[in-house]
Symmetry: C2
Subunit: 369 residues, 2 copies
């Protein structure tokens, strides 16, 4: 496998572990459970600040009907149930970060580092990254990145901030979040009806199409604000920018009608939603098919022994991207890992219904039948 | 594949169907669900008189801890939840019967018949028979079978009957059921404390070992009844019988001490528990490994196209006999079957969270998110 940047350069002492799971979606969570039953403690890394993955990010309140024996549950409920189920195994969760560097050690272990600087040295690695890490969709304009974190912001959904008071604000996006932010900047950042609230100096909403995805009343409000010259809506793309001593001063927008506009800019808010990206894992040299990791169906191992892939990120003949399939994959991957972590002994299949050992691990004392 | 007895001899008109599932355990039930999502209606045959399979038969009240997102549930609860989940798909259940004969038709369909005379002509067949059909353990004594249903009985657990009043009753078995039946025959068949209840003339309990598996108080009661000459306990095996004009009159028991006893017998109750048997399926000529059916992991097809095997009955590299694995197998088997049932069209993967078509099939109208 390829090695990507040398984590040994880091000053952090690596955390030596048996199993690292990338992704805290339903399948990553159930991987914790299956490893736990085999007495393997797991660490979990996820780019989101909470568990649940796609379920929590894309459809937290939408019902799912095809989890066996759960006629209906939302993504949030499924996540909560899985978190409760895996609680006895005390997995360590590292949220809000991604693996960046990766290196195979001479002893077969993997040295990996997150973008927050945590370094793990792990015997086995489970990629349960779904369709990839959910990262904000970026604007494709060379050189713009240099303003990231200062004038270029990917705001969290729904969080208002008065730092944009009296600023020239440009908002890129066409959905509810973008439209909502435009309203807040026009009307002030607190109670929208309070005229004494600080407002942005100018508000420009830029979207690649002339159709916004928002409710009819919001669209009417956008129209009214534009008519009253309190907001400007440009259908088009960012094509350039101007700066002065490292400070962004204006953006160039090329309209879908071919018209170019210069928009004075103090703050640029990007609200184009989240997009899943496989990220650095794609550079590890694992055998892939399109954007999926090829696995065998005996242990769901990737082409690199010790690295397993479970859930939507893997592919094999017959693969269906369903949560229930990911759950099965976790079982066989856990046994595959056990053979690596405990090379000296055979790990037998035990049943949670009958095994006193598993009852102890789960912290339960079942009644006699 | 082998053909076993010709069902065409039957006078019954075959029921023409798309999918027949053998086994109504958790995996057979979830197979109904996965077929239902693909608009394939299923018929289900099970030897037990109710759904649940091993879960319901072997551990109905014992907790299971490893069903994803169900921290704990009993076998009975799991069965009930699955029955509720599959209800929208209106599967037809045929309980208390086994498939006996099997024949492949020239058009590729399978003609199968149950021991209750129902004949199906099905495009696809799903064997979800677990460790096999649960049938009462029999006594291995040549010629004894001829009394079956008359003097030789496999009683249902817990059902008393006064037909044994004034009879010489021999009970074979060493567990709770056998001991319980012995008590009821000694004390009468209704309220045990009512001395006016009809009693058996004699009660002999025969078990292959001199250790009974029953609670200490029951063992004490057995001892007391034997001391009082109201019951006889023989540790040994049935080695012969006598009959008179087709009527069983006595049994020969060879004790573990080598002693032979003749026991007058009007009724022989066999209570040695249930034992799983693969049954006639083993004679269909499918590729097997020990007692399991070999399947591919792309569609969980057996060696015979159109016959799938899911759950504990199948085997493949990495196989673990866990319910969660069987659930996954159902998904891929359903798609494998869809390719046979709908050869003219590709069956796409749809999600229950987003597909209006699946919502319609499930009979749900999810709230907008």
């Amino acid at each position: 496998v390829a090695s990507v940047k040398n984590p040994a350069d880091s000053h952090q002492h690596p955390i030596e572990i048996d199993a690292l799971i990338v992704g805290a979606g339903p399948v990553g969570l159930f991987q914790v459970f299956q490893l736990g039953l085999l007495e393997i403690k797991a660490h979990v890394v996820d780019v989101l600040p909470y568990a649940g993955g796609q379920c929590a990010e894309l459809y937290p309140h939408k019902p799912i009907y095809d989890i066996p024996a759960l006629s209906v549950c939302t993504g949030r409920e499924l996540t909560d149930k899985l978190l409760a189920q895996i609680a006895p195994f005390g997995a360590a969760f590292h949220y809000g970060q991604q693996l960046t560097s990766f290196e195979k050690q001479p002893d077969g272990r993997f040295l990996v580092q997150t973008n927050k600087g945590i370094v793990f040295c792990t015997k086995t690695l489970f990629i349960a990254a779904g369709v990839g890490a959910f990262l904000p969709r970026t604007v494709n304009l060379q050189g713009l990145d240099r303003f990231y974190g200062q004038q270029l912001i990917y705001p969290n959904t729904g969080t208002a901030s008065s730092v944009y008071a009296d600023k020239n604000v440009v908002i890129v996006g066409g959905g509810d979040d973008a439209v909502g932010w435009a309203f807040r900047c026009c009307a002030g950042f607190g109670d929208a009806s309070d005229a004494s609230e600080p407002k942005a100096r100018s508000v420009t909403l830029v979207h690649r199409r002339d159709v916004l995805q928002a409710s009819p009343d919001k669209l009417a409000a956008v129209h009214a604000l534009c008519e009253a010259k309190k907001m400007r809506f440009l259908a088009g793309q960012l094509t350039g920018f101007e700066e002065n001593n490292g400070v962004l001063t204006s953006l160039e927008v090329c309209g879908i009608d071919g018209q170019e506009s210069q928009v004075p800019t103090d703050a640029l808010l990007i609200l184009q939603g989240l997009s899943p990206k496989l990220g650095p894992i794609a550079q590890w040299g694992l055998d892939m098919e399109r954007k999926q990791l090829r696995v065998d169906t005996e242990t769901y191992s990737t082409s690199e022994p010790g690295i397993f892939a479970v859930g939507d990120i893997n592919t094999y003949p017959g693969k269906k991207k369903l949560i229930v399939c990911g759950f099965h994959e976790c079982v066989l991957a856990a046994y595959g890992a056990a053979a690596i972590i405990f090379p000296e002994r055979k790990v037998p299949l035990q049943y949670t219904t009958t095994s006193p050992k598993l009852h102890q691990l789960l912290g339960v004392i079942p009644a006699a039948d």
